[in-house]
């Protein structure tokens, strides 16, 4: 009998816990915490939907759309070796990041704009992955341009420096690639991430990505 009751109560608690979280900040914090642990396509896919549903409720915040876009573009990067699957994720990410951009006062919110440009750079880079031979010419320079814009808006953005370092790492020397410069930029990004650790729900990703690339540079 007790078991039955406990089961029923537990069921209730579960059902209501969803409602109990009806608080934007809490929800975002929960999702961002999950994002910090995300690794697989499935993780990012679920989180993208989660951020999108938060965005539906909190229609004026730039962050939910920003994160939704980031999750989708991250999938595009994970699929780097599978050109046929990237496009829908890049398209979706671009749609969301444009929404995020529209919710920013671009004249004042330089830091936020810099983060948005980072995702736009990643979106265009993901399109290059579809087939570097055919899409590289078109989207590669756009991606670099967004990275430069991100740095212009906020030179202290570790994610912008990470993307710049990534480009310097992946580009052939003849076209401006530079492994030494790449390492410097990645170390700078790492330093920036360390000096300004986890700040709640604001963008703070990058350490994993920077470390992974630094490992390859060794």
């Amino acid at each position: 009998m007790k078991k039955v009751i406990f089961f029923i109560i537990a069921n209730f608690l579960q059902a209501y816990s969803i409602q109990a979280q009806n608080n934007y900040k809490q929800q975002m914090q929960a999702a961002v915490t999950k994002l910090d642990q995300a690794a697989s396509v499935k993780d990012y896919q679920q989180l993208a939907v989660e951020f999108e549903s938060i965005a539906q409720l909190e229609k004026t915040g730039w962050l939910p759309y920003y994160y939704a876009a980031f999750c989708n573009v991250k999938i595009g990067w994970i699929y780097q070796e599978d050109g046929d699957r990237i496009e829908p994720f890049a398209d979706k990410a671009e749609m969301d990041i444009k929404k995020s951009e529209s919710l920013i006062d671009t004249a004042v919110q330089k830091k936020e704009l810099s983060e948005v440009f980072c995702v736009l750079s990643m979106v265009n880079r993901a399109r290059v992955f579809i087939n570097p031979m055919s899409y590289g010419r078109q989207y590669g320079p756009v991606a670099s341009q967004y990275t430069k814009l991100a740095l212009k808006e906020n030179a202290d953005n570790p994610r912008a420096n990470y993307l710049d370092g990534w480009e310097k790492y992946s580009t052939p020397k003849l076209w401006g690639g530079d492994k030494k410069k790449s390492k410097e930029l990645l170390e700078l990004a790492k330093h920036q991430l360390a000096s300004n650790p986890d700040n709640g729900i604001n963008p703070h990703w990058g350490l994993k990505e920077v470390d992974e690339l630094l490992k390859q540079l060794k």
Partner: protein, 750 residues
């Protein structure tokens, strides 16, 4: 205690039930699948205008408890699928839902793209699909796009002639189209036994569709294969380029206006093989050239946001003289001199007309002038005139002039879900003049033809995963006074795992060559029926394809006993293609296997035999590797093919043909290598130039290639048809100077 404990429980239950009465809840269980009933793990299920939601598990099932009463909208979404909304009524019960999500054709762009009988190399290629650069950098193609495509399934390895020999068809049965219009002579005028270079620079094209059968009703006059080429639009910068090779040198520029809406350019090149041939000895003896001049000019105008007008013209000149021992008499020599000029122009226009209508129109003009002089010499190099056959034929002057004009338009309406209707018409004009001058007599043949064609085609979805292209083409030739009607049909069905089955059927008509029509103006169209089935799967930057086909030829032209349409035949085969860009880092390779079984009766064949340009088995391996750290790209192409049949067909005294000699050539195997090393000579310049050294070698192993035999008139003497030299080499420098304005345009469009 027991009582009070029980009381507590009852109290709790009472509390719960009363709560439920006020806050009703509905349990929704369900499963999300796609149209193939595959579970959609990770699909999102959300109650609209609320934050209640969940995700489908790996089996596609979900459980959602929703509070409240009344109507709610449930939103189901998964990337790549169309989001669905379902209205549910909450009424304290359990609702079971079985939801199917439809593939989102809009974002995926090309869910079911029919790909049967063709290889497309496009600048929009994804994953393991070919790009134009992939195609034109195949080692050993000598700047001829048709050669590069010989490493794809369906093509035969024919070393002594240019053009494409596809699935049992001759090179005359494979046509090239540029921006919709026919390109009548893609190569410099042919010379017996010596393939001639292509006229058009392969880098001119951003889209290459190589159809080995079953192609669209928009194109015709090619029985076996259509090579559909699309030229580049606006360049992204103004630039100048030059190249210096021992065989040829050239320079050109392309100017782009500041607003990026207009561009024009001119290129010129001169090639002379004399220097090269002194270093790498050739057989036969070239006493003239080979010498080539190529010039081209273009302009492109963006007439509006969606409109584009493009003009391209090309003038080519070749001058060649060869001398070789006469096959009928070892004490005599025969010479062959040829001077060829060719002017080609193409003007094309495309524009959106609104309401999803689009027009594409093009015109093309070609003027081909070819002069051939044949002479017979004795050992003292004095011209000989012998009255007896066959020697009487060995002193000859002939000139051919072909004029060609075409105009066409295609209207297309784009419908929902990648469906479309296309229709249009085209007009061809051919004028042919052949004058031959023998010491004994002269002959002149003149004829012209007007051909009109109309075509219509639709892309439709028959079912969610099944697309069809249904087309029909009608042609009327004023010279033949005949009409033909060619249905074309292709189908594609896509499996959930991305694999796709394609099928095609069609009839493909072709006018007899003008040279044959000059002999008999009453010839009919020749035709081929194609039946093709293939399976293709593309995933993870790999592509696998298997294709089988069956073709039936009707009314092929015979030249003996008379010029007529008494020929027929068949071709069937299986082809495999595997491309992998993933397994080895920075390495891209593809493997092709072609099996061909074909027999035809045509020309002077006494009965249906395998033509000399066919072989049963062909295997190709193409490997490309880019060494990023040293800016070096390396290309290798290896081909292995079984021998080809050869025949010496003679006529008995009674006039019935027979084989005086027949056999099979040795196995053909060739490995070609090419390298391009990129660097910058002036890296400090603001607009630094990009330079490269290209070098390559064809037939690295020096295998002895025999393509067939020439037979003397009486059949007692035969001479192997071989390449003029065992190996060919090239090394040269190319430089490109440009003001890269891409960033300006990007900044404008950010």
């Amino acid at each position: 205690m027991r009582f009070s404990g029980r009381n507590k429980i009852f109290n709790t239950l009472f509390f719960i039930f009363s709560y439920v009465a006020v806050n009703a809840q509905t349990t929704i269980r369900g499963i999300v699948t796609n149209s193939n009933k595959d579970p959609q793990s990770g699909a999102s299920i959300r109650v609209k205008e609320s934050n209640q939601g969940t995700y489908a598990d790996s089996a596609g099932s979900f459980l959602l408890i929703v509070q409240g009463k009344g109507k709610r909208n449930l939103e189901l979404s998964s990337v790549g699928y169309t989001t669905r909304e379902i209205e549910i009524s909450l009424n304290d019960t359990i609702i079971f839902l079985d939801i199917e999500l439809a593939t989102e054709t809009k974002t995926l762009g090309d869910v079911v793209v029919i790909s049967v009988g063709s290889f497309e190399a496009s600048d929009k290629a994804k994953g393991a699909s070919l790009t134009p650069i992939d195609a034109v950098t195949v080692a050993g193609n000598g700047g001829d796009i048709a050669n590069a495509l010989r490493t794809l399934p369906g093509a035969q390895q024919i070393g002594e002639q240019d053009g494409l020999f596809v699935r049992g068809g001759s090179n005359d049965e494979a046509k090239q189209f540029v921006d919709g219009s026919l390109l009548p002579s893609p190569n410099y005028a042919s010379i017996p036994g010596l393939p001639q270079p292509a006229r058009l620079n392969p880098f001119l094209f951003k889209g290459i569709l190589f159809s080995t059968g079953g192609y669209s009703a928009l194109y015709g006059e090619a029985m076996s294969s259509a090579l559909i080429l699309e030229t580049v639009d606006m360049p992204d910068k103004s630039s100048a380029a030059l190249h210096i090779f021992p065989q040829n040198l050239g320079a050109g520029f392309q100017e782009l206006s500041m607003d990026g809406k207009r561009s024009y350019g001119i290129n010129a090149g001169y090639g002379n093989m004399q220097f090269y041939n002194r270093i790498v000895p050739q057989i036969p003896d070239y006493f003239k050239g080979p010498e080539y001049i190529s010039t081209d000019a273009n302009f492109r105008i963006k007439t509006s946001a969606t409109g584009m007008l493009k003009f391209y013209c090309n003038y080519g000149y070749s001058n060649i003289g060869i001398r070789s021992p006469d096959i009928d008499s070892s004490s005599l020599f025969s010479s062959f001199e040829q001077v060829n000029t060719n002017f080609y122009s193409n003007l094309s226009y495309r524009e959106s007309l609104g309401n999803n209508w689009k027009i594409e129109a093009s015109t093309a003009f070609d003027n081909y002038q070819n002069g051939i002089t044949r002479k017979l010499f004795n050992v003292k190099n004095q011209q000989l005139f012998l009255p007896d056959y066959p020697y009487s034929q060995y002193n000859l002057d002939s000139s051919t002039n072909s004029k060609f004009a075409e105009a066409r338009f295609v209207l297309r309406k784009q419908l929902v879900h990648n469906q479309a209707i296309r229709f249009g018409a085209e007009y061809f004009y051919n004028h042919y003049l052949l004058s031959s001058h023998y010491p004994s007599d002269d002959a002149t043949n003149m004829l012209y033809n007007n051909l009109i064609a109309a075509f219509a085609e639709t892309d439709i979805y028959i079912a969610k995963k099944m697309a069809a292209k249904i087309g029909v083409r009608a042609e009327y030739s004023a010279l033949l006074k005949r009409t033909n009607l060619a249905p074309r049909l292709s189908l594609a069905y896509r499996f959930a795992d991305g694999g796709q089955i394609n099928m095609a059927y069609g009839i493909f008509y072709q006018l007899p060559e003008m040279g044959y029509l000059a002999q008999n103006r009453d010839l009919d169209f020749s035709s081929a029926d194609h039946y093709i089935i293939n399976y293709q799967k593309k995933a993870g930057n790999r592509l696998f394809r298997i294709e089988a086909y069956y073709k039936v030829y009707h009314d092929l032209v015979t030249t003996y006993p008379s010029y007529a349409n008494w020929g027929d035949g068949y071709a069937r085969g299986i082809e495999l293609f595997w491309r992998d860009k993933r397994t080895f880092k920075n390495v891209d390779y593809w493997i092709t296997y072609t099996y061909l079984d074909t027999k035809r009766k045509y020309l002077d064949f006494p009965y249906a035999i395998a033509p000399s340009y066919s072989t049963p088995h062909t295997l190709s391996l193409v490997v490309k590797k880019y060494f990023q750290d040293i800016n070096l790209s390396a290309n290798m192409a290896y081909t292995l093919a079984t021998g080809r049949p050869y025949y010496d067909i003679q006529n008995s005294v009674s006039g019935s043909p027979f084989f005086y000699d027949e056999g099979t050539t040795p196995v053909y195997h060739v490995m070609n290598l090419s390298f391009a090393y990129l660097f910058s000579i002036f890296p400090k310049w603001k607009n630094k130039e990009f330079s490269g050294i290209g070098l390559g070698c064809n037939n690295v192993f020096g295998s002895k290639e025999v393509f067939g035999y020439y037979f003397s008139y009486n059949g007692t003497n035969k001479m192997a048809v071989t390449p003029p030299a065992t190996r060919t080499f090239y090394i040269g420098l190319f430089m490109s100077f440009g003001i890269d304005r891409r960033n300006d345009f990007i900044n404008e469009n950010l």
